[in-house]
Amino acid sequence: MLEINARSARQWSRLGSRPMLGQAILSLAETTEDLMVLSADLGRSSGLSRFRNAYPDRFVNVGIAEQNMIGVAAGLAKEGFVVFATSFAPFLSMRSSEQIRMNMGYMGLNVKAVAIGSGVSMGFLGNSHYGIEDASIMRSIPNLTVVSPADCGEIVKTIFAAAKYEGPMYIRLTGEANIPIVYEEDYHFEIGKAITLREGSEITIFANGTMVYESLEAAKLLELEGLSAGVVNMHTIKPLDTSMVDKAVASSRLLVSVEEHSVIGGLGGAIAEYKTALQNAPPQLIIGLPDSFGTVGEHRYLLEKFGLTAGQIAEAIINRHDDVLS
């Protein structure tokens, strides 16, 4: 059993999101008899080597064939297996997008598609391997639940919750080795229920994935500037926890969304779609990856390049806040 504490959080952070996925699956297998895990020739890259060795009968490498993987996953799910299917974010969400639509969306079959290396975490592998648009695409498919965990501890929480959750899901993993730690102790996690990590009276920041940590740090910087910003971990992009948006709309002068995803159609888009029907809602600043194929480099370098570090997020918020007030 994997338990979140200060020590494990540090260990897991060093591992990063992909090995953590493997550990979570390995642990899940101890209690989940009907588990099946599929990979499109990225078992090792998904941290699944130990799982594959321990449970060879529950692992299927379908080869480099993502479309087939989703169909096979759906067939297994239809017969009652708890099925996880993994690949890099673009190959899963785009190469097999229509298989996901038919099998998981249309038929609602209980497959958990786990996208590894989403956002710009795949560094020098470049834009072919980045997950810039995946949340937007997956979110638009009816019946799909879309989750983007904040750190390694939340990856564990998400995988265990997903196994119990009846229904198709797209899980989006961001962050590589030394992924910043948000959670150092156990907490209550529920799919579809956002978590307030910090209270604030003037601004509410909604974030998911790696941007939860950056947003918490940004809120601290804002406090030094005399601005009170709350931070909400919106790990579930769909269904959106609209009660949390309502709360922010009632109490804040500015809403901010921060995500390691295109500014089009992700968490920011989801909040904006909901908020646009509300009366007297404050403006929203959408912070994310630009709508372009940018340069390539180490994860941290790219976050800085795209204005997604705590200091840059705080600065963007201050600028927008000044506009709003003037």
């Binding site: 479309q67 169909g71 096979v72 297994l76 017969e79 297996f81 298989q99 038919m102």
Partner: protein, 271 residues
């Protein structure tokens, strides 16, 4: 197996197809529905473990219509078996109906999966067959593809997976009617010798006249070689059973007006 009984079932299915294609008053996929009638009658009428009144039976053989536009051949088989009631059949392609141009998963009506996007059914069938292997299920998986559908690259991903996984509880059938949406398949994308292609991927492959029920029965009950999936290339005639619909693509998706319905139903009644 009583051949005459299956032939009668096939005739009944053709009548149903013409009836509901006419009464729905919209274009329907008639040609590709008629081409699979004899295959479907043989499967449901004689080959498959199937209980028409208990569609969720755990040990039933599973059938996936990967060529979703063959829905008329599927619905008419389920109607002839008594699974889909007449009053539901009467709603074919009506607003809000459960029976649309492409199947929508509905186990109470015997419909195992939603299809219509080509090249996906075989992958699901691989998953179903793998699940049966893992759980020790004694049932068999049947999946029907169109020859045009085999243009889809994803079909061949699944073809490779099935032989790699040694799924000898899986039978694929290719409705090899030689046509697809835009016309003659060989001129659009020549698929060469279909049987050889599947065989070269490690499948136990054979060809059969897809309208000869005795032959269909013989190859479909034969489970083929151990550790290998089986494929039956069924050479068929698009529009089979109605002379003016046969071997033409005009009835791929067309409206069956009164005039043509009368002509067609007469031919099917006489056969």
């Amino acid at each position: 197996m009583n051949i005459q009984r299956i032939e009668e079932m096939a005739t009944r299915m053709r009548r149903i197809i013409l009836d509901i294609s006419h009464s729905c008053d919209h274009s329907a996929h008639i040609g590709g529905g008629l081409s699979i009638v004899d295959i479907m009658a043989t499967l449901y009428g004689a080959v498959m473990q199937y209980d028409s009144k208990n569609t969720t039976w755990k040990d039933r053989d599973r059938f996936i219509l990967s060529k979703g536009h063959g829905a008329l051949g599927y619905y008419s088989a389920l109607a002839a078996m008594g699974t889909i009631p007449d009053e539901v059949m009467a709603t074919f392609q009506a607003n809000g109906s459960d029976l649309t141009s492409h199947p929508v998963m509905n186990l109470p009506l015997g419909i195992e999966s939603s299809n219509g996007s080509l090249g996906q059914g075989l992958s699901m069938a691989v998953g179903l067959a793998l699940a049966a292997k893992r759980k020790g299920g004694q049932y068999r998986i049947y999946v029907l593809l169109g020859n045009g559908e085999c243009n889809e690259g994803a079909v061949w991903e699944a073809v490779m997976a099935a032989s790699h996984l040694k799924l000898d509880n899986l039978t694929a059938i290719v409705d090899n009617n030689g046509f697809q949406n835009d016309g003659d398949s060989c001129t659009i994308l020549d698929c060469g010798n279909v049987e050889e292609r599947w065989a070269s991927f490690g499948w136990n492959a054979c060809s059969v006249n897809g309208h000869d029920i005795k032959e269909l029965y013989r190859v479909l009950v034969d489970r083929g070689a151990k550790s290998r999936p089986k494929v039956v290339i069924a050479d068929t005639i698009k529009g089979k059973g109605v002379s003016f619909m046969e071997d033409t693509n005009d009835w791929h998706h067309n409206r069956l007006t009164r005039k043509y319905y009368d002509l067609a139903i007469q031919e099917v009644s006489e056969s």
